[in-house]
Structures are given as structure tokens and as C-alpha cells.
Symmetry: C2
Subunit: 421 residues, 2 copies
């Protein structure tokens, strides 16, 4: 925290004045007289500036006291910058190099200054453009295993774990937004919802679908009560920035203690939607199939790398509340520990599929839509792609127990896309 | 909070000086010159005084900075009085009249002054003496439904719920004790454990029982990660005081956000142990059977009254994060809400049986034993009763899915007691 001056939304000039007095930034970027500062559009909730100088560059992200996408009518606490800062530091330490480095945090201005990622682009854009990223699945699978394991009771002791739970319980406002927008709105008539023209009947069908709503209620309960680990909390393809060889995780302002499957499922659901969107812009059938196959390969790789890395950490790093080596390995009962891990992975897998399915509903029927579908210019075609995604999301929410692994999920996606298996 | 004087363990004289200056007490009890103050033994962690005057009476409970039962070698934070105070207030509001009324809280002395319950006795004592309490099951079942429902996301909004979660996350020290003493120690060699002579082989068998330890690990994970509601956290037959017509809940210093089944299971497990202990002191076979039948009837009543009262609150008081009337009742889908409740009750029931089973293990194989068994003078007979209880506890931990309701649990108990069904 730098000072106690009152919060004000910054512009290029006031930001330069403020950051120019911070030694941790002038050391990296040189004197502010040589900086170039520009505001760049972010999504919904923040101002984002890029600061460049002959010596280097940084990003400055300032929380706004309202949700920008809805206008000033939806006030939001500035405290979320505090939670994003703490989440960046923790998640960054759990998988070093995978999140932007934090240079400075100015709590009075709800302002985080951090590493400028270049030439990275948002993964959503890359998925629309059809770019193949050979290491994406491995990077994200490993990130998920390391962040989810190392923030959990398997790795953390009681004192640190409960203190962190208390700290992030303060992020209730953003949890409340997720609770409403993800788990409730898509399944009821809400003025915040919007759907592509032609999907009104599908939206009405979801609102009338009792089994689907019972599944949504169960998932909302998992989300609200299952404090398994510190989650990113908004881990979709818009929260990942990529180059050919690098993948970085950004924007953990929705961080909270929740179920492991929520982060994995958010990513998986977004990859599935990217899969269904492809026929909206790739007229060349063979090229479309090839890219769709790559997306499914990424989804499968995410899960398998997650599971393998989690198992590795399980063996070597189980030093927390739920470690329980004293019941198993220490007395020659390794097989018991393996059995606990197997049961855990089955539960995480079921959660993952359910949360993937609900993400696919809320991005099509709710408030916040995604670039992958929005980029389909032809509205009829977009509605068709979204309808297939909804059908798949419903199966993921209702039949999680029958899908035994990521290959079966890929097969389901191909079926729903009416592609020959 | 009254003042900032340094903490000191109080005695009758210093307590009188301190409380005599508090108007909220002199109003109830008259001037301190006419008080009679005596220290009475409590269990393990606290000093307890009874203050009596011609006008009335009160109990003063002061936390000690160590666990008394183990001596000063086990230091414990005084903050637990803070959590007990907050839990007394919340649980008392959720089921009015069921907890002692709080008169004053002196944080600097870790001191709670509250209603003196007389002529109440601890339920454990009453179960040893064979006293029938016609309303016990109804009282405790209703208390469980009201406290567990009203502290949950079904009843609480996001802001209050997350703030309370954060507050009670501070009670990590006592959660840590539970995590070790209940879920780990009974299943490993620990210098804190002790067993009745003759049970050494049973203890070794539990330590070698892989399935049992995998079940213990799963229950420990539920305990640590499933933040469903504000629990009492130590809800056994020593935390209930009774008369013929009244039942009161005391000592919620282990309060934290955890799974509903933990409080219910702790009580159920202790009732089952009281059942198995009866043949240790009731030589008259018919009298023993009759009292055992009454104990099983209490256990069944607790569950059925809990379930009925919970369903009533579910219909009328579902105004919290997980209320979701907007998906169900508000659009004519009552049956969907019933389905959510059914799924929830099945989960709570499975948790209840598992936690009951683990309670039965930790009270026989771990550090803290119970009066119901300790009161059996003949050690061989005590070991026999405890062995039957362990066998039942194992079934509860491993076969929760096969026991469809409390009558089947009673039948199992009778089988384990080798009584004709």
C-alpha cells in the first residue's frame, strides 16, 4: 500500500504521476518522463493501462467501482483488487512463471501494476483464428494441478489454510455475482439474460427443464459450500494469454475457496464451446475438423496432465491437514493412499463435467457471452452452434456419472456436432 | 468487552470483584456482597464458576490457556471464548431457548457469564443412571434442524454468510484439534491414545484396517472442506444438559462451518455408545433391554424430527443463497425443490452415519473417553461393551450407503449387541 489518497479512476496522465513516484517502477522502467502510457480496453470491470518505456513495460489494472459492461448501474466494491492481488501472489507461487509477475499494489487506488505480457494474445482470439498451440494443454493441466493441489488441505497446514479461507471469504461480493449469473439466471427469466435470435425456445426449454434445474441447484451447492482449495474463480479462455510457446493465467479477481472441479470445468466448458463455434467460421470442412480435433485434444490433455501432475504432487507433497501419510505410507499402506486419490479424482471429474455443462449454459443463456460464438457473423449459424453446445452442456450436467473419461467427452462432442465418429 | 486488563485465571474472589462491577450482572443478581461463588469442575479446557445470590444465579466460564486434562503442556489459545460467545449468540437465536442465555462477555478474561441451568444434569450422567427423558429426541432433533438450516446457505444471504465463514475460520486451532484427535489419532499409534485393557488387539486391528482408514480419510475431507453450516462442533451427550422436561445445548466452543452430518453424527454415535454401555451396569436384563430400546427410540426420533423440521423450514424459510425458489416454487416446479431436498437429506444421512462411526472409534481408541463407558467398573465387561461399539462404528463408516434409515441403524445396534431382534 502506497498512500491513503482517495480513490479516483485514473487516466494516462494521473497514472503516470502516481506510478512515476514509485521506485519499484522507475527501477524497472526508468524515469516517468520517458514513459508512454495508453489505456486499452479490458472486459467489464476494470481500467487497464500499458506503460512502456525504452527500458521495459508494465500493465496497470485499476478496479472500477461498478461493472463497466452494465454501466454505473451495477456498483461493485473496489476491494476486489485486494483479492486479485493476493490471488496473483499465491497462484503465482504455486506454479511459478504461469501468472504475470506483480510489481506493485496500490490499495488506495485499487491498482495492480504487473508484468506486461507481449506478444501474448487472449486465448479466445487465438481459438477464433484457428491457431494451433502445441503446449497449451500441458501448460494449463499442470497449472491446474499445481494451483489446486498446493492451495488445498492436502498441502496446507491448519493455521495457514484457515487464515486464507477467512481472507478470501471477504471476496463474497464476487462470489455472489457468480452464484447469481452462473447458477441461477440461465435457468430463469431474468432481465440480465440475452440469447441469440432463434434460441428463445431453447432458453424457455431450459427454464422448464426440471432435471436440469435440480442439477444446477446441486452444482450451486457444491460451489457455495465445498471449500476445497483456492480457485482462480473465473478460469475461462478469456483468462489465458498465449503465444506459440507460452501460456499465462490472468485476472484471478474472483478467487475464493471452492471445489477443484470449478476451475477445471470452466476451462473445459469454454474449450467445448470453442469446439462448437468452429463451424461458424471455418468453411473448409477439413480445416474445421482438423482444428476441432486439436481443441478436443487440448481438453483431453488438460485432464490427463492435471491428473498426472496431481498424482505426482500427491505422492511427494502431501504435508497438509489431509495429508495422512501417518495412516498410509508411513505404515506401509501405500495402496490406501492410492485409493483415497482414486476416490478424489472421481469426485473432481464429476464436478468438472457438471461445472463445464453449467458454464456452457450461462454463456449462451445468461448475461456474459463469449467471443468464440459472438465472432460468428451469421446469427442463424451462431444459434445453431450454440444449440449444439447447449445440448452437450445438458448431458454434462445430467450424465456426469456415465462419462468415464475425457475421450468419452470428446466422442460426445463429435456426436453433438453431428460428425462421424 | 469490558476492559483491557491483562488475562489472569480467576478464582472466586477475583471473579466476584470483576463481575460485581458489571451492571448487567448486579441488575440480575443484586450487589456482589451477597453473592456466593464456587468453582465447579468442568471437563478439560476451562474454569467454571457458579454465582448465586438471593436474587438469582449465573455461570461464569473462563477459558484456560492450556488444555486442563493434559496439563499445561498443551497450550491453547484463549480466543476460543470469543468463538464460543459468538456461537452461543447465533445458535441461541436459531433455536430460541435451547441454549443458555448469555449475560455478559469479557474478552480480556476469556470469560462468558450466562444462565445457570438448574436442576439440569449432563445427559451422559442421566444415560448412565437410566433416566427416561420423554422429550429429549424431539428437543434435539428440532435443535439440529433449526441450527443447521438457519446457519446454512439455504437461509443466509451471501454477505452475512461469507462474513460469518471468515469469523469462524479464525477458530482453526480447535478445528485442528478435532482433525487430529477425531480423524487421525484413533487409526495410528499415538502417545495420546489410550484403550481399556483387553482392547489392544482391537486398536491394532483398526490401525491395520485399510478400508477403515480410507473411510476416515474421506470423512476428514468432508469435515475440513464442506462448509455447509455453522456447527456446534462438539455435539455429544456431554454437551447437553437435561431435566425431565427440558434439554439444553452447551459448550459450542468448537463451532465452525462444516458438514451438517457432523453434529448429527456426533450425537448419534454417542447415543449408540450409551446403548452398548448399558449392559455394563444394568444387571436386570429386562430393565437393560427396556432402557436400550428407549435410547434407540431417542436416536430414531432425533433423525425423524430433524428431517421433518428441516423440511418445514425448507418450505417456508429458504431465503438464502441456495434458496432457489425462483427456479422451483415461483414457476410452479415444487417437485424440483422436493427433489433437491431429497438429494440433500440422502447426503446428510450418509455423512451422519460416517461421522457417528468415527466418533465411536475416537472415544474408544483415542484420547478422550466417555463417562458412559468409564462408569463400567468391571474392565473386562467395559472392553466387551466397547468392542461391540467398535464393530458397529466400523459398519457405520463403511456401509453407510446400505443403511436406509434410523430403524435399520437400530436393528444393526441390536444385532451387534447380540440381542434377539
Amino acid at each position: 500500500m502506497l498512500d491513503k489518497s482517495p480513490y479516483e479512476p485514473l487516466n494516462a496522465a494521473t497514472l503516470t504521476r502516481r506510478l512515476g513516484g514509485m521506485p519499484e517502477l522507475t527501477r524497472r522502467l526508468g524515469p516517468a518522463a520517458h514513459w508512454q502510457v495508453r489505456e486499452v480496453g479490458d472486459g467489464n470491470l476494470n481500467l487497464v493501462f500499458i506503460v512502456e518505456s525504452p527500458k521495459g513495460a508494465a500493465v496497470a489494472k485499476q478496479a472500477l467501482p461498478y461493472a463497466r459492461c452494465v454501466g454505473e448501474s451495477w456498483p461493485m466494491s473496489l476491494e476486489r483488487a485486494f483479492f486479485e492481488y493476493h490471488a496473483l501472489v499465491r497462484l503465482g507461487a504455486r506454479d511459478p512463471g504461469r501468472l504475470p509477475e506483480v510489481y506493485a499494489f496500490d490499495q488506495s487506488q485499487a491498482l495492480i501494476v504487473m508484468e506486461y505480457l507481449a506478444p501474448h494474445v487472449i486465448l479466445r482470439k487465438s481459438l477464433v483464428e484457428g491457431v494451433v498451440l502445441p503446449e497449451l494443454g500441458g501448460h494449463l493441466g499442470r497449472y491446474l494441478a499445481r494451483s489446486l493441489f498446493r492451495g488445498s488441505d492436502f498441502a496446507m497446514d491448519t493455521a495457514h489454510r484457515k487464515a486464507d479461507l477467512a481472507l478470501f471469504a471477504g471476496n463474497g461480493e464476487l462470489c455472489g455475482i457468480s452464484e447469481d449469473l452462473i447458477f441461477t439466471d440461465p435457468f430463469r427469466a431474468s432481465p440480465r439474460n440475452r440469447v441469440t435470435a432463434g434460441l428463445e425456445g431453447d432458453a424457455a426449454a431450459a427454464r422448464a427443464d426440471r432435471d436440469l434445474k435440480v442439477a444446477a441447484a446441486a452444482l450451486k451447492r457444491r460451489f457455495a459450500t465445498s471449500a476445497e482449495t483456492l480457485l482462480h474463480g473465473d478460469f475461462h479462455t478469456g483468462s489465458v494469454m498465449v503465444t506459440d510457446r507460452d501460456s499465462r493465467v490472468i485476472d484471478p479477481e474472483f478467487a475464493f475457496y471452492g471445489p477443484m472441479g470449478f476451475d477445471i470445468g470452466s476451462l473445459l466448458g469454454n474449450l467445448m464451446m470453442a469446439f462448437f463455434a468452429q463451424s461458424g467460421y471455418r468453411a473448409d470442412h477439413a480445416a474445421c475438423i482438423a482444428y476441432q480435433d486439436w481443441i478436443l485434444d487440448v481438453a483431453e490433455t488438460v485432464w490427463w496432465v492435471f491428473a498426472a501432475e496431481f498424482a505426482r504432487l500427491w505422492k511427494s507433497g502431501r504435508n497438509g491437514i489431509l495429508g495422512l501419510r501417518e495412516l498410509f505410507e508411513d505404515v506401509g499402506h501405500e495402496i490406501g493412499a492410492r485409493s483415497v486419490l482414486t476416490d478424489l479424482m472421481e469426485e473432481v471429474w464429476r464436478d468438472t463435467l457438471g461445472f463445464a455443462g453449467i458454464e456452457m449454459h450461462r454463456r449462451i443463456l445468461g448475461l456474459a457471452h463469449i467471443l468464440e460464438f459472438e465472432a460468428i457473423a451469421n446469427e442463424g449459424l451462431r444459434a445453431e452452434c450454440e444449440r449444439r453446445a447447449l445440448a452437450m452442456g445438458r448431458v454434462l450436467m445430467l450424465r456426469a456419472r456415465t462419462l468415464r473419461g475425457p475421450r468419452e467427452v470428446s466422442a460426445l462432442a463429435r456426436t453433438m456436432a453431428e460428425r462421424p465418429l
